[in-house]
């Protein structure tokens, strides 16, 4: 591209093209939701199996999941502080997501501590489902990603139903359903769309 005068039509086309280029920076490949979703899903299902087969103590798989999450968080913090990739561009959406994720993990820890200190795990997991739904709604709205927006309301619905469950096993099954609907399915849809877009861009660039 060089310094030259352009027609009005060329001007509008150029604006569209550049705005599309900037928009690509804001696309999410959905991998984070998929990994997080499957981890939560497995922890819930394994806990249900554990309750039935009595392999270990009831919360064994949740404790295991907690350790993995803490290790992953520590790794992310270290890489952010010390081996941070040089980001060439900052978007308002990325900044919002960083703060949203911080708020999400603080609230998550809040509920986890509450479960360990005072409230019953049955209620605690219903509150966690509600927190997931909140995160999914904001994330989906910021990306204008309809599957996540729908998934957020469905997740809230499942969370609401779980409030009326007496047994921990039923709450675990509903928790698994909530993460399937809220994270895993939208995550795979986002990943599919991202790969298609990536493929299309490759074709356009090669022409």
């Amino acid at each position: 591209m060089e310094e030259k005068q352009i027609s009005e039509h060329e001007g509008l086309l150029l604006i569209q093209q550049m705005i599309q280029t900037a928009k690509k920076e804001q696309k999410d490949d959905g991998k984070g939701w998929i990994i997080w979703g499957w981890m939560l899903f497995l922890a819930s299902i394994l806990t249900v199996m554990n309750i039935n087969f009595k392999w270990f103590q009831t919360f064994f798989f949740w404790n295991f999941f907690g350790v993995i999450t803490l290790v992953a968080l520590a790794y992310q913090t270290v890489s952010y502080l010390f081996i941070r990739k040089t980001e060439k561009v900052r978007t308002y959406t990325k900044d919002l997501f960083q703060r949203l994720n911080t708020g999400f993990f603080i609230s998550l820890m809040f509920i986890i501590v509450a479960i360990n200190v005072n409230i019953s795990p049955t209620i605690g997991f219903s509150l966690l489902i509600s927190l997931y739904a909140f995160w999914i709604l904001i994330y989906g709205s910021a990306l204008n990603f309809r599957p996540s927006i729908i998934a957020a309301y469905l997740t809230w619905g499942i969370g609401f139903v779980s409030l009326f469950m007496k047994g921990f096993e039923q709450v675990m099954l509903l928790h698994a359903a909530a993460v399937l609907v809220g994270y895993i399915i939208p995550g795979h849809i986002a990943n599919n769309e991202f790969r298609k877009l990536h493929q299309r861009n490759k074709v356009v660039e090669s022409v």
Binding site: G11, A22, V89, R90, D95
Partner: protein, 94 residues
């Protein structure tokens, strides 16, 4: 009656830079160079022109011992861009 098109924005490279910056918070000079396909010298001149009229802010700093130039659009730049797009649309409707 048609508005005059802003001569600062009505040029290929400067318009590309503004359109790119309007959608992000800030971007490195190398990112803009990569996305516009311009040469460093030419881009540098056009970025300076945009800075001189107050449409963008340019921050020069060092990151990991390497010089880094960050560009971000100003509120005056956003206003000028909006007026420019509106004027373009009027021309096209004609």
């Amino acid at each position: 009656m048609f508005k005059d098109l802003d001569p600062i924005l009505h040029s290929q490279l400067r318009l590309a830079v503004m359109s790119l910056l309007i959608g992000v918070k800030e971007a490195e000079f190398t990112y803009i160079k990569e996305k516009t396909g311009a040469t460093a010298g030419n881009l540098s001149v056009q970025v300076q022109k945009l800075k001189d009229v107050g449409y963008i802010d340019v921050t020069k700093q060092f990151k990991d011992n390497y010089p880094q130039t960050l560009c971000r659009v100003t509120s005056a730049g956003i206003k000028a861009f909006e007026v420019y797009v509106q004027a373009l649309q009027e021309y096209i409707k004609k």
